[in-house]
Symmetry: C3
Subunit: 303 residues, 3 copies
C-alpha cells in the first residue's frame, strides 16, 4: 500500500505541476555544468548531490529526488548531515541550494510521511524537519537559494532560511507557504521565518489563505530578492555568493547570528512540545481524512 | 447638558466630514440590496443591522448609528453581543463590517463617553472598547471590512482587526489612528494592531502625528488591501469572502489564531491596568480641557 | 603616536569621501544662515554648535568636527550634554541635527577611540556611545535629521534615532550601518533601531553585508523619509518641524515613548554586559589587527 500511496504522491505533484504549460522549454534534461579539477563531489547518496569547489569555497547542494524533490525522512536526514559536514569543513565558505529536477525547486514535506504512518513515524519525521530548519536557519556560513522552479510549503521554508534568494523569472513558478490549502497548519517557526522575511501582515494573509506567489509577485513582496532568466539562476547565485565572500566573515557571521538567534532559541526551547503538538494534530482522524481526500482527488484528476 | 454635548459631537463629525465636498454624489440614500428569502435579519436594534445569508454563511453587520456611526457604550455593547452570537452560530462562516451611513464607515469612539462623564463611566466605556477589540481581533471566522467612507481612530482600529480591508476608491475618504490630533493617546493594543498591519516605522509616524491617510495613501502603505469604486465595496467584499471560504476552515482558523494570539494575550494579561491607565489619563483636567476645547472649536466652526 | 593615528583617521574618511567626485559644487564653504535676534547660541564648544530660535522653539545642532564629524569620546560627551540641556529647556520644542561640514553628515564612531587604546578607554568610549543613543532615541521632544551628506555607521544610527529623516537628493551620498565591512559588529541596539526603521529582512541584509545605500535607495527602503535638493535640507527640516509642532505635544510624546520604550529598556537592562561584550570583542588581537589593516590600507590609498 505504501508503494501505491507513493505513486499517488507523485501524481499529486504532477497535478500541481500541470499548471505549468508543458513543452520542450522545461522538458530539457538538467544541464550539468562541467566539473573542473577543483570540484569535489562530497556525497555518494542519491537524493542530494553536494559539490564543493575548493578554488572559491562554494558548495552547491543539488536536490535530485525525482520527481519533485519532496522532503521525506530520508531526504531531510541526508540534508542535515550534509549541511553539518559543510558547517565543519573549513574549506567551505558558503552554500548554494538548488534543484537538479526540471521545473521544481522542492515540493516540500513528503505527505506520505504524514499519511497513515502512525504517531511514532510522524514524530521522527517532524524531528527531522526541525533539524533541517535549525541547521539551515542557524547556519553560520553564507547560504543562497537558487530557486529554479516551483517552491511550495517546505520548499519555500528552505528558501526563506537562506541569506539570499534568486528565483527563475517565470510566472509559472510559484512559491509560498500553502499548507493551509492542504488543511494542515504551518508551525510557529515556519511562521516566524516568514515574518522575518516579509513582515507580519503579509505572513498573516499568506498563512490564512495558503497563498502561492508567482515569481514576480514573490519579488514584489520581498519573498525572493532577485529574478533572473532560468538558465542564469545558478550562475547568478555563484556570482552573488562570491560577492558576499568579500565581506569580513567573522563580523558577518556574528551579525547573522544576532538576527536569527532569538527565533532559533524559541524552537530549541520548545522542540518536544512542538513534536507532540504536530503528532496530536496530524494523527487526528479529521486531518488524516483530509489528507486522504486530497490525495484521492489528485489521483482522480490524473486518471 | 448631555444632550447639548451630544449635539456638539454631531457637529464635530460634521465638521470632520465637511472636508468632503458635498454634492449629490455622496448624498444619495444608502441603497439597500434586495433581500432574498435566504437572508435572516439577526437584529432588531437600531445601531447595528445584522443580516446572515444562510445560503453562503456570510453575515453583514451594517452600522446604522447616525450621523457618523460613533462608537458609544451602547453601540460597542451591541457590537460585541452581535459578534459573539455570530461566533457561536454554526451557520455563519464569515462577517462583513460596513456602514449604512453615507460617506462614513465609523467616526470612532464617541468622545461624549469620555468628556465630563466621570471615572466610573469612563471605566465601563473602556471595558466595552476592550471587549470589542478582543472579540473582533480574536474572532475565529473570516472578517472583511467594507470601508465605504471615512474611518478615523476607532473606525480605523475596527477595520485593522479584520482579515481583509476593501475601501472605497475616493481620495476624500481618509483612514488612520488620529487620536494624537485630539490630544489623546492610542493605547498599546491599538498600537500593536497597527504594527501588525503596517509595521513599526509607519505606526510610529502615524501615532506621533495622528496621520489620516487618503484611500490611495492607505493602499500604498498597506493599511487597506484593495480599493474599488464606492458602489462595488460591498459586492467585492462578498465575493472576496466567498473566495476565502474555499480555504480549509480549520487550518485557516488555527493559522489566524497563531498570528494574533500573542497580541490578544497581552491585553488579556493587562486589562485592569489598562482600564486604570485610561481612567487616570482621560479624567485629567488638562485632557478634559483639551477635549472641551476641541468640541467648542468644532461647534464654533459650524455656527 | 596618537597624533599620527588621528591623521590616518582623517585620511580614512577622506578615502571614504573620495568616492564622491570632487568639484566646486560641494566645495563651497558651509553657508551660515543669518542669525536674527531670536537665535541664542547655546554652546561655546568647538565640536557641536547649538542654536535655539526662541521664536519657534526649534534648536539646530550643527556638527562641526572637521573633517568628517567623527564621533570620538569628546564629541559624544558634548552631544549628550547638549541634548540633555535641550530636554530640560522648556523653551526648546524640537531639535534638528545637521552638519556644518561639506559632503558629510557624520562618518560615525571614531575608530581612533577603538584602535590601540586599551580596555579602559574602550569601555568609557562605549558608555558614551550608549549615552548618546539612550538620550537621542529616548528624547521626548521632536527630532529631525537634516542629512546633508554621507552618513555611514554611527552617522546612520544617529539619523535613525530621529523622528524624521530628510536627506540631500544626491546619489553620491550614502547612508547605512556598514560596520561589518570594517570587520566589526553593530550591537543589538543598533540592530533594533534599524529593525524599527526598515524591518527585519532589510536589516538582516544590511548588517550581514554592511550595505551603504545611496540617497535614492535609502528613500526606497524607508531608511530616510524624504529627499530634497542639498540647499533645501535645513529649511525643509525647519518647516517640517514647525508642522510637527502643531500636533498636541503631550499626546505625541506619550505615543513616541510607547513605540520606543521597550527598545530603550532592553539596553538599560543590559548596559554593563553590553560594555563588557564590546571591550572583549574590540580588544581581540584579530579585531585590532583588522582595524589596523583597514587604516593602513586607507593611508596607502591616499599616499
Amino acid at each position: 500500500m505504501a508503494t501505491i500511496l507513493r505513486q499517488v504522491a507523485r501524481l499529486e505533484f504532477s497535478g500541481f505541476l500541470s499548471t505549468l504549460s508543458g513543452g520542450c522549454r522545461h522538458g530539457r534534461p538538467y544541464a550539468r555544468s562541467h566539473l573542473g579539477s577543483n570540484n569535489r563531489n562530497m556525497s555518494t547518496s542519491s537524493k542530494i548531490k553536494v559539490e564543493l569547489d575548493s578554488s572559491n569555497g562554494i558548495a552547491v547542494m543539488k536536490f535530485q529526488n525525482p520527481p519533485v524533490n519532496s522532503m521525506g525522512l530520508d531526504f531531510l536526514t541526508e540534508f542535515s548531515i550534509s549541511l553539518e559536514k559543510l558547517e565543519l569543513d573549513k574549506s567551505c565558505r558558503g552554500v548554494i541550494l538548488t534543484s537538479a529536477q526540471p521545473r521544481i525547486f522542492s515540493a516540500g514535506l513528503d505527505i506520505m510521511d504524514m499519511y497513515g504512518t502512525g504517531p511514532e513515524h510522524c514524530g521522527a519525521f517532524w524531528k527531522a524537519v526541525q533539524d533541517m530548519w535549525l541547521k539551515l536557519y542557524g547556519f553560520s556560513k553564507i547560504t543562497i537559494a537558487a530557486i529554479n522552479g516551483a517552491s511550495p510549503a517546505g520548499g519555500c521554508l528552505m528558501a526563506m532560511c537562506c541569506d539570499y534568494r534568486i528565483m527563475a523569472d517565470d510566472p509559472r513558478y510559484a512559491i509560498g507557504l500553502n499548507e493551509t490549502q492542504l488543511g494542515i497548519v504551518a508551525p510557529f517557526w515556519f511562521k516566524e521565518t516568514m515574518v522575518n522575511t516579509v513582515g507580519h501582515r503579509t505572513t498573516e494573509l499568506s498563512l490564512q489563505m495558503g497563498i502561492m506567489y508567482s515569481a514576480p509577485e514573490a519579488l514584489k513582496i520581498g519573498l525572493v530578492d532577485q529574478l533572473v532568466p532560468e538558465d542564469k539562476v545558478l550562475s547568478t547565485a555563484t556570482n552573488t555568493l562570491a560577492k558576499w565572500l568579500t565581506v569580513p566573515g567573522h563580523a558577518r557571521e556574528i551579525s547573522k547570528s544576532m538576527m536569527r538567534k532569538p527565533t532559533v532559541d524559541k524552537l530549541l526551547a520548545n522542540r518536544e512540545a512542538d513534536i507532540e503538538n504536530f503528532i496530536g494534530f496530524i494523527t487526528k482522524d479529521s486531518i488524516q481524512k483530509s489528507l486522504g481526500m486530497y490525495l484521492a482527488a489528485l489521483k482522480k484528476k490524473k486518471v
